[in-house]
């Protein structure tokens, strides 16, 4: 939100902390933190969690988030001010955001905003209606330009009411009548439901995973061999002179060691030479008809063997 939270009455710690320090919230915090290699990275998500839980972000919730992510309170406070979606002031039950950017502007956003101001009797820079139902805010691009002018009611995109539900039909933008229908929908809902259900934006955390491999305190090493190393490719063998064979191949740049192996008439492959990962070819004596392959090794892990080339006498 673009307005600065200068004169917001802040609730006391005793009022807010018991709502955050519940087993449910704390276990989610722990799971959020495990998605990242450092705790600080979870800050945006923990702030979201606090906002989901409380409806807005009082200073005590920001301090609490900072503590959980092990950053200074002022860092968390700065972050919460930088991003416009963290609510530093409480809003009405239905937070109406109307886009005023270029696509919506040319489709008549100003007229709709003026209409909304008149209908709700508030200004469009974060004005609240007295019944606590609506907050109206003009915002920049919401990313639904094909439906310009577009409106968000809390977290739902809405340009009309279809079959009694908020909807954004393809190509339909907001106009004064549709806005009135949406306001009417909100009022009806307020009469039916005591409060808005909270939508879970953070997902089923860590379904089937243990989280980031380094998250529980270890470093990047835990990532270890996250994928098999790349094998050597396109091995060819050719005669350069009597009895001497030239072997060429392609290897990935990170390869550390190349094992040149041969065998004759079936049996096991045996290593003939151990080469550097930077080598491009090898010339040496090999018996006629030998089968040649190369096994690339990257950081101590052997890749699957290359294709097999036939040595020529």
């Amino acid at each position: 939100m673009s307005h600065h939270p200068v004169h917001v009455e802040q609730p006391s710690d005793a009022e807010i902390l018991p709502r955050l320090e519940t087993p449910g919230v704390l276990s989610r915090v722990e799971e959020l933190i495990r998605r990242y290699p450092v705790k600080r990275a979870a800050l945006l998500q923990v702030l979201w969690l606090a906002q989901e839980t409380l409806g807005w972000l009082p200073n005590v919730a920001i301090r609490w988030s900072a503590e959980k992510c092990e950053v200074s309170p002022v860092h968390a406070y700065g972050v919460s001010l930088f991003y416009t979606m963290y609510k530093k002031v409480p809003t009405g039950r239905f937070f109406l955001q109307i886009c005023q950017n270029v696509s919506c502007h040319i489709q008549g956003a100003e007229a709709v905003i003026a209409h909304a101001e008149k209908v709700l009797g508030v200004d469009s820079h974060g004005g609240n209606t007295e019944d606590g139902l609506f907050t109206l805010l003009r915002v920049e691009c919401l990313g639904a330009c094909g439906n310009g002018p577009v409106l968000q009611v809390n977290d739902s995109f809405a340009t009309d009411v279809v079959d009694g539900e908020l909807a954004m039909p393809i190509g339909v933008g907001l106009d004064p009548e549709r806005f009135d229908r949406i306001v009417e929908w909100c009022r009806r809902r307020a009469a039916e439901l005591p409060e808005e259900p909270v939508r879970d934006a953070l997902g089923d955390i860590l379904v089937g995973t243990d989280g980031h491999p380094g998250a529980t305190g270890a470093s990047a090493e835990v990532q270890g061999s996250y994928a098999p190393p790349p094998p050597a490719l396109a091995v060819t063998a050719s005669n350069v002179e009597e009895g001497r064979t030239k072997v060429t191949w392609k290897a990935a740049p990170e390869t550390t060691v190349l094992h040149l192996e041969t065998r004759q008439g079936g049996g096991e492959f045996a290593e003939v030479a151990s080469l550097s990962g930077k080598d491009k070819e090898w010339i040496g004596e090999l018996p006629a008809g030998a089968e040649i392959r190369i096994v690339a090794e990257t950081a101590g892990v052997r890749a699957k063997p290359s294709n097999i080339a036939k040595g020529i006498a």
């Binding site: 998605r35 290699p37 450092v38 600080r40 990275a41 800050l43 945006l44 998500q45 702030l47 979201w48 992510c69 950053v71 972050v79 930088f82 991003y83 416009t84 979606m85 963290y86 005023q100 950017n101 270029v102 696509s103 502007h105 040319i106 489709q107 920049e140 691009c141 990313g143 639904a144 330009c145 094909g146 439906n147 310009g148 968000q152 977290d155 739902s156 190509g171 939508r199 879970d200 934006a201 997902g203 379904v207 089937g208 995973t209 989280g211 980031h212 491999p213 380094g214 990047a220 990532q223 996250y226 994928a227 098999p228 490719l233 990935a252 740049p253 990170e254 550390t256 990257t298 950081a299």
Partner: protein, 434 residues
Amino acid sequence: MATLTVTQNFGKGARDLEVYRSLGGYGSISSRLFDLSQFELIDLVSRSGLRGRGGAGFPTGMKWSFVPRNSGKPVYLVVNADEGEPGTFKDHVLMQEDPHRLIEGMIVCGWALGVRTAYIYVRGEFLPAIETLNAALKQAYAAGLLGKNIGGSGYSLDIYVHRGAGAYICGEETALINSLEGFKGQPRLKPPFPAVSGAFASPTCVNNVETLMALPWILEHGPEAYQALGTPKSGGTKVFSVSGDVKRPGVYEVPMGTPLMELLESPELCQGIVGELKGVIPGGSSSPVLTAEEARKANLDYEALAALKTMLGSGAVVAFNTERSAVGMLTSLTRFYAHESCGQCTPCREGTGYADRIMKTIASGKGREGDLDHMLDLAANFSYTTICPLAIADAWPIENFIGKFRPEFEAEVAKNPDRGSPRVTKDFRPGAFW
């Protein structure tokens, strides 16, 4: 009907894993992906001519080739779904309609680069898309397509959704990385480039949603088939978000090199202009605007639009008719960039705000003589003096709207009877016109 490589599952309910699979989804994972080595895969993507669809158009294969796998640090893949460029809404629709294609593309990219942990950075406003993605990830994990040892290949990948919180600048890749790390989304100096030192000081590949979603098709049909869909230098197809004064705004996928007017007027696509065409913004709000005459000559590929001194950008086409005021549009844009400047570099923080205040006086009938030249001078001075291109993204619309529709701006200034009086310096104190 042209070949579709990204949007072919629209309207088929592909959000559900079973439906996506019945449409051939995850075919690349079960068939050939894990037989390909890293550089075969990078070579394949290079040959397809695929270029970054987020705006810069950097060749994807080349970008991948910059990511080292032997640095001793983990490699991260970060999907840029912080779609914020005014006019752009394709990624929003793509994630909503076909989330599994994005996951499949991420597995392909992850395998190529040896990624163990990937993040999808979705802008905070897209809660419905976040819910769709989370549901799709849950299904993919349950089916063994994500997590440990995918399909018995020995390869493991975890994907998490990271919700942004409302900042346009986080679409810039280094700002996005800062935001992912729990900082304010302020861009970093380059070098070091993210490929070498990005998220958590580790090699990082940042790709747009649409770029990754093109990969399954490329793997299935081969790079040459993809390249052949477009022009020699801009391969494949591109998804365009069309808004403004067209009969049917929406998201359309067309081959690269399609004439702009065909996109706007074809009965299968946008079905024509409402009113008489005045101009088109071809690639998102920061791309230089085209007059109707230029738009009729334009083809939708990187080179053809560059020849018209504009750009394809993110593929956000905003068409507007002769009833729309260029002054109003530019005022809306300068306000946006002033609002979204991250405040890190002085030329941008002060310059975009200054330009915004001048535009507001012009639009409210208080313009002075010399204001337009002043704006151009200002734009020239805050371009190329900052860490990231946000200032340039403000300068281009200023230069082009004023350059191409100057009589309209002059008429607006002429409405002020007091236009000849000099600007008083104290008028430019911050906040003087808010």
